[in-house]
Symmetry: C2
Subunit: 550 residues, 2 copies
């Protein structure tokens, strides 16, 4: 009992700290956005520096004392901190580090006329990035047992810091993109446009303060390409610190992660089509980026945007069709559902659905804007179709992945070679189930159905005869599922690459920008898109898991 009580206090205390730090952060960020005269961005950065230093100190303390003590970390959660998440964190951390170095170099040129805090902040952030990436790489799987309350509070502080950093970055970018120079007419709202606006803002309106050396403008240009990675980094670190917080004090019951072999040779159609689609997507993406870079006439740009829209529409439609096939197979498939609680799986599903909201919001905003303005022109029509198909694809894919994650993994049926007596073959079903009983985590024929034995009679009754014929069907279904998974995996990779490497078709034509005004639309895209990118990466990992278990 005293242990339980301590856990409760630790949860409540860390939750209170989290709530207070985050809400104070929200208030400060809002204040510096809406009243930059009184609370300047330097004031906000002082607050951030304090937060970053506190979090860094705690992480160092954890690594030097807590993690090294005996009995501190007895268990590792095999599901937490998977390699794709840690690799992504390291990659985005590296790119954020480069961004910070550019920032330091740039603001050093303004030291004679601007606050020194603007240099101090990226320096502190660089140290923080380094320490946090190291910390999360090596300790993401820890189930801490010692000093649990301090660890809980520290992890919640880490989570709060990352969320505030994310919020600051998103707000800053939305504000940067807001000040549109007047000389451009509304029709030409292109990507180059907002990039130029961004650079104009970062140089303090060009008159008040001059950079003391000439390389400044190059540094500024680099921001534009690097800040999305910094936003991603904060999201990744937030997810990982939340999982670590959930794992504090947890005793993992299955230390041996069930090993499932990965055969790529089982399938061929899915991966081949997927790779073809990804390569085609990559090719058009490169052409699109190059064409938009050139700052040529409107007609050529429109053609590039159209090509990008068509390609995306095709990709999303093909993925929708294959996901629908996969969902139908799941409906036919009578595998047992996984029973029992699994916090990591619940978190996986929660993160998947929450991250998909970002893309949902962007698509619905597009649909409303295009429909309301009458969808004139082929670009608007394509945009509308793309947004609609994206919604369909996201919904189906969420269904497919969640269904897949909740199924018992398939077990190789014992090879039927020995018997020739027809009477024995009759009994094969029972034998199979007998042999199954020896395997490690058998699917129980009647899993505890969570107190649902009530009167809800069978919308889909279980198959009457689990015969050899049925076993053959299963293999057919498994193959379709694996093909679908492989195809979707490649589709999600290409849909991740495009926005992550700078495609912003949302700003390439003016319908939404004119409809919602620039500020509102920039805010929606800047908040929604990083979640969308996170969603694609997360889907890839989840689809890989579904591939392995089906």
């Amino acid at each position: 009992p005293p242990k339980d009580r301590t856990r409760n206090w630790g949860w409540l205390l860390s939750g209170t700290i989290f709530l207070n730090v985050v809400i104070l952060g929200v208030a400060l960020v809002s204040a510096s956005t809406f009243n930059s005269a009184v609370i300047s961005s330097a004031d906000l950065q002082v607050f951030l520096i304090i937060l970053l230093l506190l979090t860094t100190l705690w992480m160092l303390y954890y690594q030097v004392y807590t993690a090294r003590a005996d009995h501190a970390v007895l268990f590792k959660d095999g599901h937490a901190g998977p390699v794709w998440l840690r690799a992504g964190l390291a990659l985005f951390g590296l790119l954020s580090l480069i961004m910070d170095i550019f920032k330091i170099a740039n603001y050093a040129g303004y030291l004679h006329c601007d606050s020194a805090v603007k240099v101090a902040f990226p320096v502190v952030q660089a140290v923080f990035l380094f320490v946090q990436t190291y910390f999360m790489w090596f300790h993401a799987k820890d189930c801490v047992q010692l000093q649990r309350n301090i660890t809980r509070c520290g992890l919640m502080l880490t989570l709060a810091t990352n969320l505030i950093l994310w919020m600051t970055a998103v707000t800053e970018e939305s504000v940067h993109q807001t000040d549109i120079p007047d000389e451009y007419d509304d029709h030409n709202v292109t990507k180059v446009y907002s990039r130029r606006a961004f650079i104009a803002r970062a140089s303090y309106g060009e008159d008040d303060c001059k950079c003391s050396y000439s390389a400044c403008s190059i540094f500024k240009e680099a921001y534009y390409y690097l800040y999305p990675f910094n936003i991603e980094y904060s999201l990744f670190a937030s997810a990982m610190s939340y999982v670590m917080w959930k794992n504090v004090g947890r005793l993992v019951d299955e230390p041996a992660h069930h090993k499932i072999r990965f055969h790529i040779r089982d399938v061929c159609l899915g991966p081949v089509l997927g790779v073809v689609m990804a390569v085609a997507g990559l090719a058009t993406f490169v052409v699109y980026e190059v064409d938009l870079e050139k700052e040529d006439s409107g007609a050529k740009k429109d053609r590039a945007v159209m090509m990008h829209f068509v390609m995306n529409l095709v990709i999303v439609s093909l993925m929708s069709v294959s996901t629908a096939v996969g969902c139908a197979v799941f409906r036919l498939d009578h595998r047992d559902l996984l029973s029992g609680k699994n916090p990591t799986r619940s978190l996986d599903v929660g993160l998947l659905v929450a991250a998909s909201v970002g893309q949902f919001v962007i698509s619905y905003f597009t649909i409303v804007a295009v429909v309301a303005t009458g969808a004139q022109g082929y670009l608007n029509g394509l945009n509308l179709a793309w947004a609609f198909m994206t919604i369909v694809q996201l919904g189906l894919q969420n269904l497919f992945i969640i269904e897949g994650l909740h199924r018992e993994p398939h077990h190789e049926p014992p090879p039927i070679t020995v018997f020739s007596n027809p009477y024995v073959i009759q009994g094969l079903g029972e034998l199979g189930s007998l042999e199954d009983n020896e395997s490690e985590n058998k699917p129980s024929p009647e899993p505890p159905s969570h107190g649902e034995h009530g009167h809800a009679a069978a919308a889909s009754p279980p198959p009457a005869h689990p015969e050899p014929e049925h076993r053959h069907k299963l293999t057919w279904k498994r193959r379709v599922l694996k093909e679908v998974c492989a195809f979707l995996l490649m589709g999600n990779i290409i849909l991740w690459i495009m926005p992550a490497f700078g495609a912003r078709p949302q700003f390439d034509h003016g319908t939404e920008t004119e409809f919602y005004k620039f500020t509102m639309w920039a805010a929606v895209v800047n908040i929604g898109l990083p979640f969308g990118i996170f969603y694609r990466m997360h889907s890839v990992a989840s689809l890989f898991e579904v591939y392995l278990t089906s």
Copy 2:
């Protein structure tokens, strides 16, 4: 297994419907706010009418068919839909109905020059309000067993509809309060002010369209007083439909709710002080409202506002002190924690913390604004102190309530009268535990500690000797806890009454309004305050439960 699978599909399908309807609603509300030229409020209302009709039809279907079928509702969840929630829903529903009648009467006067949808919407909403209040009053405790997937989808549709209605109301009010007439100078930003702005807007700028009869202005004035209740109503209905959704298909294991008697005579200091405080608060609140109504000179208004601030500061400070005492007693109290999952309790705690975020945000925004502008004048100083103490009080009260809800209820110790033999008294402890075993839900001496037997050695070791002396101490502790609960209960009631009946000190002096600009501040207050009001009502109910179990 097929039943389990159906549940999963039902969840996913209803979740998908919810997500899509809500996000479409967000997009439409944003569009009609940011671009009212293309998407007028009439367009939005057509969408709302469709949603309301669908939801109403489903609720009627449920009441006529599903709820009447045999075996449809075998169990009732005793914790769901408590009487305070249903009574609140009925009260707010009634007031919303009156608001709708006023709206119908008002817009009927504009029929010759405005869309008929503006009359149709309140008519449909009135029908919806009636049906939904009836539905929730009688079916809030249902654990539906028949047609579970349809019921899940219907409940998620209900939740989505209520959330969109809430969003629309909040946005409308923020927009109404945005258009401030220019003739007022910035110093006089008072409540009367925003009320006048609201009425000005509701009459279409006075020139375009004239009401065909003279009573219109009275109807419009009534909006101002009634719309907060409508916002509350939507929040209440959302919470209840979410609980119903969670309960679909659930088999409640404890049908007999453990009856605990309510003795008010156990305590005296807490309730008496609480009532005195509530009456004092009520008196100053009435004086404040009357003084602000008068539209007199600035000095008198400032005095009324100051009085309101002082009273609130005193209430919140007293509550903080008593909550701190209560938390300290909980730390000393070594009662067992409740083990086992209880979805209603988890939801209670979640709603409590989530609702408190609204007040947290308002307070932090106030603190940032006042500190940044230097906190000049006694009004600003008082406002700052009030905001700070509110944060302290909210944090402590959340701790106290969550701790209290997770404790095993106390059991009356068997009266010690029969034995006089000293050897027998030695054995009393064991006898007590023997007798306890006969009671219905005994506190297990070693509850399953959720796999936490690890090496986290005892921050607070259990008491070594559970002697009669200790039993006496428990009684002393229980009394303190009950006094604290009773006092906090009265405090929360008065803190509920003030904002629910129209106190808006946030707009009574200009610091925040000038700092954040009117739009931003109105949005923060209009979103945060209904949650704050909900929080106070919810706290009263939870404190009553804590009172009973301690």
